[in-house]
Symmetry: D2
Subunit: 423 residues, 4 copies
């Protein structure tokens, strides 16, 4: 429904104009939260430029009439709805609108889901948080909440396969209200130049949002009772998720940093308030360096989820942890392959990884190393690793082909989709 | 409210791909009624190309949901309105929707105005035709009809100074419904991919459009009684308009071809069913060649309105009339200057034209020539010229500074506008 | 041998950078004598800009080593040659190098031809001027001078069909030395960044250029004796050239302004020192307005050569002559057609012009008008017209198909060329 | 002296034209040995295209006259010279002209140097090979050979800091003949469209190239006698070069694969016939993957030179060696820093690497690991490593700040240059 390019592009080939271009580009990037492009010819790299004392300000147009009309229509739709729901997208984080969204959600008392990219933009352990919605990939209760809604207010996210899963079309256009950076879409019509921060501020400040009934609450997560499975049997990815949720329950504030691939799909079911991950495509190898960056910049000790393939790309960066004063706990899911790619194309013969003795390598890089093959061993290793002061790596040996429930449903949905004509 | 570039552009630098580009460009031009741009490098001009047997078809997207939702909102607004009005724009002509618009107008029984560019897209002598709306420039009765309307349905025209005059903002956004090529705008929201032909067809076919009251009718034009002024006094532009209206009343079918400048503003008050003129800016010299083109292609003998300045640019083309079998009657308004430019910038000293003996030159070019200085003489000359078989040129000597009422109001509105800060 | 784009292009979309772009563009245009392109978006037309107090200067690179090596090779080739010749091109005029070229030519004492575009860049009545070289189109004596030369120094002109005629390949690459704006080409090699003004200055200042033998002199033009033809027979284009040469002999300083088409080819044989004409393609209608411009800016009364087709495009501008204080004598060659186009494509049926009574029209526009049909009458009319104070137009009635000797040879050469495969 | 862009660029946005663009791009890339750029919009990635049965062939223009004239001038300069020398550049390898150059060099009997990028394009152990010329960075005897030459024929390389070092200006323009892809430059002039393969073939086939005197021969390399230094003292980079040369003398055919940085500068003094390295800038981490690629594609077992910094970027790829059947011997120069960068900016505080136990890591990745700290130990380790069947890594511990003689001279020359105004 929405596609636009707002970036700014310029070539800095003249010192007299370079400063104005730089200032303008930064201003645009900051205001539209989109990439800008500045090409600096090689012979200009060290050219001196005059910094503008009063750099030009980009004035993004706001159509006050459109904001007013759009807010009125959204309110009227919300009030008329019986089962409204919010879905929170990544722009809520980019534009710094988290507090505003929590206020709006609590006033409305409705269930709140997140998009895939938006996971973490709304606190995952908030009682109104219903889960990360991924279309038919989502668990049945979440699908029921979202898909039976007669008014879905989606905040800060384009609808695409990377945001809401392969089955974005489960959201009826008839019931969808969509606020993105500078536009509001309702049904088949669009309000332009209605910035999301203005619209959200107006909505959150509107009187009479509260519903009479008590606020919706997510059902209790299954308590961390011992799984029905033998804790000494070979460990599965489901066991890993369960163990990490138990850990997250016990360590309220631990942030999760996840790599792409099945790690990312597993992370959808791990209930840490904060979850940091890459944007899906072409991002393998994100987690280890990102975890160091997070701890350096925030001081928070992260739990890291990474696959064997991703670790072979950037994992050796872990050797910097001690020097940087970081002590992440890395859970390395070793299934001996690029398993997500294998899952989508089972006939592929090129996804096997070369075996590394990850735990022993980690020890040579200054970490404590663990090798675990059972759920019990993982729980022990997590406890020991977290109790230690230094960085640690826990290599979890999984069976090839053992993928998370979310990825499993995703693959099934994908196959179903590609087997019928595109819409 | 609306600005978009839909043209197609390509460089034909490879014979293998040239044919596909040409076919695609023509297809786009035909379907979007907008310019396309094909650059042919000089060394490719005579390159042979393979014509595609099955040229690619550009499929313009239609959003059926948007068409349906937009039509529903337009109908609901029309039905709720007490004083709806239609304004017909130039795209009605470009997309060939004239008959459909007449059907819709007659079903609704409402007043119909045209835009400036759209003059002639709806029959000017139709009983529901209320005039060409030009904002504050329009005569008071027409302004009353349009500006007091609680539902203005504008068909096929962007709102700009060339379409609806300097005071387009007199049309309240609250009451405006706007259908253009591929979009519908209502209030502050927009339906995309809702093609005007689809929307109009759906509207015209909707049941229950008719109003109980009889259809609105334009007030009778002032009958062609002798003016209060002395028919033998020096002629004014108002006398010219009056004389031409008398002529149009007596010759129902005569098409008017007008040049730009005060001719074009005068033409707004001349009641010929068909009026052909240029698009306002940078088009001086349009009328004489256009009149030949019209007669060659349609066989209809035109009445032509042209100024002295415009005639000095392209008027000598009249020497082709006899050879082409054309016999236009050219009314040349000679005020010795580029009077419209003078009217906007009265301090200008460069708008005087060099004097030509137009009637005598016309005779050397094979036409019958008349020089008139009074209203009576103009009426006689028109009668004689029309009675003759050949082309004729009637030079009407006006006073410098004598401009039409429409231009006069336009200048006043323009001055008022530029003296206050832009909106 | 040479093709390069040196123009400067920019889009003025930011007032902060606009002034720098404008200054740079003007500087480039002035220094490279080539077009520059500045696109001004519509909403920037009246934007205020800050004029740079110290505008950036474009430094065109000069390779002193290349200048030195090139001059040395040119001198060595000139000194070794037995029959050197100069050809003067249009850049000699553009870069203001006329005096330098005369000095060089007189020191060398060699024949000097001009290119077609360069006609007038070297004084046509200079004793060393050998004619305008147009390849096989040139008269035999000039071809002998140029084509038998063992060292052709071509100054300031690209080799192309518009400069040196259809048979540019008659100039042996082996014997050709070519200096253009910023390059010298000799044989198959090229010196870059060797500006023509620097190279010419170095050449003209070189010692020992003079040859022992006296300077070459053009053969005497045939004196203005009465032609063998009956002066009272219907006039031909050859008679016109002869009459104009007689007039030029008697009026040393009269400048000639010629339109394109056969006028331009005829002008090649008319010996006025100064000749102003358009650049060949797509320039019909140049002469009458250009003549007014020349007289307004230089005060010199021009002789004007124009065809009936070109006059129908822009000739009515002559009506401004009296008001502007201009009194050109316009010789209008009326053959009732666009004869040059007809000559190249004799099967064409669309080149006939519509007849105008040119002399009588001219009188209505304030000129004295003459109609001549014989050589004697043309000579009388020229004398009377020149004796008068005001502008005059002499319509010379020619037979259709009567074309100048130069055009006639050009057409023959063209046909011969297109009938064989391109080189 | 030379800068040109010959690449081909296209956007594949239409399946009907895509195949032609692809075929043309490949053809251009193959013929000009330069990059081409094809942009494939995301929605076209899997579009079907029609492969052209007869793809368009790009005809690069050859100017036979220019080839002939250029060859004649080169031969005349070579014959007139007393101390001619050849320098072989990288295009000799790209265009596959190695055999032709050896033929020409042996016929001329002159010394042959290579450029930095061209090292290996001429056999390094050929008796006429004089070394890799890097301007003032080169050893004195090589500088004497090249800089005292009165005719330097440089084949297949642009003159730049990456090709011939910081002091390319030591090559007098007066004595320089330069053949690159499509041009020949001599002194200040240039022959265009004279392809290097055509020029070289003509040169090599010219009679009478041989000189009467016997061919020049490089002085004997210092024999592999034990160094004056204590073989049990801490090892230096000079010891490493000496040990590798001893190894190369004993293993005639071993190819050297070098990373960038001081490895690359050291490689200039290592006498293996074949040397493969990256193109200087932005290429750190080249060696280990390249060595695997070389062995997979050629079957030759390489000696690899890599620094600790580069190994930390891509070295873990070594874990693929066993699986791929490769057994490179990697000599890892561990000075604990990015030493080349440190050498240029000694005040930098950010070039230290984090310590890795490289030999032990290598053993975990399936290699034999050695740690050496003396020259004697390196020689032993090289012997043992080469004797083994599998891959091996020899970590050589160097002192920080110990850089090769070539880099040392390079840094000195660079500092001298940046301390004076640029030329």
């Amino acid at each position: 429904v929405y596609r636009e390019v707002t970036e700014y592009a310029a070539i800095l080939d003249d010192p007299r104009t370079a400063a104005a271009h730089v200032a303008r580009a930064l201003d645009v990037a900051w205001k539209v939260k989109r990439p800008v492009y500045l090409e600096i010819p090689r012979d200009m790299v060290s050219a001196g430029i005059d910094l503008p004392v009063d750099p030009p300000q980009v004035e993004l147009r706001t159509d006050e009439g459109a904001v007013e009309e759009a807010v009125a229509e959204i309110l009227s739709r919300l009030r008329a709805a019986e089962r409204p729901v919010l879905i929170v997208g990544v722009e809520v984080h980019r534009f710094g609108l988290g507090a505003l969204v929590i206020r709006l959600a609590e006033a409305l008392g409705v269930p709140v889901a997140s998009s895939f990219l938006g996971r973490g933009a709304f606190p995952i352990r908030h009682p109104q948080f219903a889960g990360t919605y991924l279309g038919v990939v989502s668990p049945a209760p979440l699908r029921e909440v979202v898909e039976s809604s007669d008014c879905v207010l989606l905040l800060g996210e384009l609808i695409s396969d990377t945001s809401l899963g392969v089955s974005a079309d489960r959201l009826s256009e008839r019931n969808l209200l969509l606020c993105v950076a500078r536009d509001v879409f309702i049904g088949h019509h669009r309000y332009q130049d209605a910035p999301i921060d203005r619209v959200l501020a107006r909505l959150a400040a509107s009187p009479g949002l509260s519903r009479r009934a008590p606020a919706w609450r997510a059902p209790e997560a299954v308590p961390d009772t011992p799984s029905a499975r033998d804790p000494h049997a070979p460990i599965t990815i489901v066991d890993v998720i369960e163990a990490l949720n138990a850990f997250a329950d016990a360590h309220d504030d631990v942030p999760l940093v996840s790599d792409t691939g099945d790690c990312l799909f597993s992370a959808v079911e791990i209930r840490t308030n904060l979850c940091m991950g890459p944007a899906y495509y072409a991002t393998m190898g994100f987690a280890v360096p990102a975890a160091l960056g997070m701890q350096v910049s925030t001081g928070r000790r992260p739990l890291v989820l990474v696959g064997d393939g991703a670790f072979q790309m950037t994992g050796p960066e872990l050797s910097h942890a001690v020097e940087l004063g970081c002590n992440p706990v890395v859970v390395l899911l070793n299934n001996g392959s690029w398993e997500m790619l294998q899952a989508f194309f089972p006939a592929a013969t090129y996804n096997r990884t070369v075996p590394w003795p990850f735990a022993r390598l980690a020890e040579l890089w200054g970490c404590r190393g663990f090798e675990v093959r059972t759920a019990a061993a993982l729980r022990d290793a997590l406890r020991l690793a977290w109790a230690g002061d230094g960085p640690a790596l826990i290599e979890v040996t999984l069976q090839r082909g053992d993928i998370s429930p979310v990825l499993s449903r995703f693959v099934a949905a994908f196959r179903q989709r590609v087997n019928r004509p595109l819409p």
